[in-house]
């Protein structure tokens, strides 16, 4: 479907290769209307940042993209979300398969209480991505390398992942997420528990991952959004207020609500 694969980006006025297209997305938690009619097209091989104050719906919307909200009983999602033109809320879509394709990294590093090797090998194993042990070894090495962790981890692959530093654990989680060869990587405040050096390492990594994936990152740090993303979406009270090129958002936003938020004003 041409409509879902491409759209005219009004902000830049060009045709872009869209990875994810969301149309009229509404999310309800019981009676609460958490996401109000969000329309957005997320490009492939691009880092898109979602920013906004707490409770604005940015994480909720992020979690719609790999159906993580399915796990919440009172949560109801309506509207269309297509990835590569495919409706991810189609009843025939297996959420587990979807989440292999749309990986996720969370705020707090949450490695499994297993070895570094097993943390990374777990996904490929259950999805049957490796036929032999050497296939699996290769996936583990390349995932750890992509996550810029191989040099630090190669001599301790069989030690517990939980024994690593916070920054290393987060990069381990990223390695785990990319081990299943996803196409989209969702990151929910991946650096908020990290020190500035680990943050810089993860940001550098995000920039490299952009070569291979579409990355969507939720962050409370405006500076981080400015540093790592090419596109920025500003959410406020469940609405997508503004979506534009990151440099536009940070130099000359069009909506006064965006302006107030990013420049730290009351309003």
């Amino acid at each position: 479907m041409l409509d879902d694969k491409y759209h005219v980006d009004r902000a830049v006025g060009t045709m872009q290769d869209n990875k994810i297209t969301a149309k009229n997305v509404q999310v309800f938690y019981g009676e609460t209307h958490a996401i109000k009619d969000v329309n957005v097209a997320i490009s492939d091989k691009t880092v898109t940042a979602f920013i906004g104050p707490s409770g604005c719906g940015k994480s909720t919307f992020l979690r719609c993209l790999n159906r993580m909200n399915d796990t919440i009983d009172i949560c109801r999602v309506t509207g269309d979300i297509h990835i590569d033109g495919e409706d991810i809320y189609d009843p025939r879509v297996d959420p587990v398969q979807l989440r292999a394709k749309v990986g996720m990294v969370f705020q707090k590093p949450n490695p499994f209480p297993k070895s570094i090797y097993d943390n990374v090998a777990y996904g490929p194993k259950i999805h049957g991505l490796a036929k032999t042990k050497s296939d699996l070894d290769e996936i583990v090495e390349s995932s750890l390398s992509k996550a810029a962790l191989w040099n630090e981890a190669k001599d301790r692959l069989h030690e517990a992942g939980t024994g690593m530093s916070g920054g290393q654990q987060q990069r381990l989680c990223i390695a785990r997420a990319i081990a299943t060869a996803p196409e989209v990587l969702l990151m929910d405040e991946p650096c908020s528990a990290l020190d500035p050096i680990a943050t810089a390492q993860v940001e550098e990594l995000i920039d490299e991952l952009r070569q291979s994936f579409s990355v969507v990152i939720v962050t409370h740090s405006m500076q981080q959004a400015a540093r790592v993303s090419q596109k920025t979406a500003f959410f406020h009270l469940g609405n997508l207020v503004e979506f534009d090129d990151t440099d536009k958002i940070f130099t000359n936003p069009q909506d006064p609500r965006t302006e107030s938020y990013i420049s730290g004003r009351i309003g």
Binding site: A226, F250, T251, N252, P253, E259, I262, S263, R265, I266
Partner: protein, 235 residues
């Protein structure tokens, strides 16, 4: 524009604006006093203008430091960022205008020793007043965030250019009439050129104000009135 959550941030930005206005006030005064010292053959006033330039330079330095501090500590974005970028350019332009005023004052000290060229002093004073008014309006536009007023100033520069053209021809005529006028006319011509350049710098400042308010530099070419580069002959 709403206030920042951090009120100290607002105070920092207001502080920088105050410094720009102070600097602008000193520069306006320098322009008028430089022109008056010529018209009144007042060497003391000319000397005072030269002295006062130090205060203008000191303010520029202070503004640069405050702007650098704000960038380092507040990481300004959006309009705040444009404010900081603008004050840096505004202060640089003001400093240059101050230098031109100082140069006029220096030449005045030399000119008082020579025979006056009829009409030149008054014409230069009129030109200086026009530029001073443009500068005043630009600073008002800056403080009020008034892009329309800044655009009006931007268009007004061609009047200054025309005054300069007229003076240029007049000085040429005087010099051809009597070579003894050449030294005085050369000095007067440099003064006229200085004022014309002040007008250009003021126009740049007005464009900076438009950028600050709208987020975009004005694109369309403004009317240019300085045609003296093409003068080959005069009657």
């Amino acid at each position: 524009m709403n206030a920042h959550i951090s009120s100290a941030y607002d105070r920092d930005l207001e502080g920088i604006t105050t410094l720009i206005m102070q600097m602008g006030g000193l520069v306006e005064e320098a322009i008028l006093r430089a022109a008056n010292s010529l018209a009144n053959r007042d060497v003391e006033m000319a000397e005072a203008v030269r002295k006062a330039d130090e205060a203008i330079d000191a303010l520029e330095e202070q503004i640069n430091e405050e702007a650098a501090r704000t960038i380092a500590l507040r990481a300004p974005v959006s309009k705040d960022l444009r404010t900081i970028l603008s004050v840096l350019r505004l202060s640089a332009s003001l400093e240059r205008i101050g230098d031109y005023a100082k140069n006029i004052a220096k030449r005045t000290s030399v000119l008082v020793e020579m025979n006056p060229v009829p009409g030149a002093d008054t014409a230069l004073r009129r030109m200086a007043r026009e530029v001073e008014q443009m500068l005043k309006d630009t600073l008002d536009a800056y403080v009020r965030g008034d892009a329309e007023l800044a655009e009006v100033v931007r268009q007004r520069d061609q009047e200054v250019d025309q005054m300069y053209n007229a003076l240029f021809r007049e000085f040429l005529t005087f010099m051809m009439e009597d070579p003894r006028n050449i030294t005085a006319c050369m000095h007067l011509h440099f003064m006229a050129k200085n004022i014309e350049r002040m007008g250009d710098l003021t126009t740049n400042m007005a464009e900076q104000v438009i950028y600050l308010v709208t987020g975009e530099m004005p694109e369309e070419a403004r009317p240019k009135g300085d045609k003296t580069a093409f003068v080959v002959e005069t009657g």
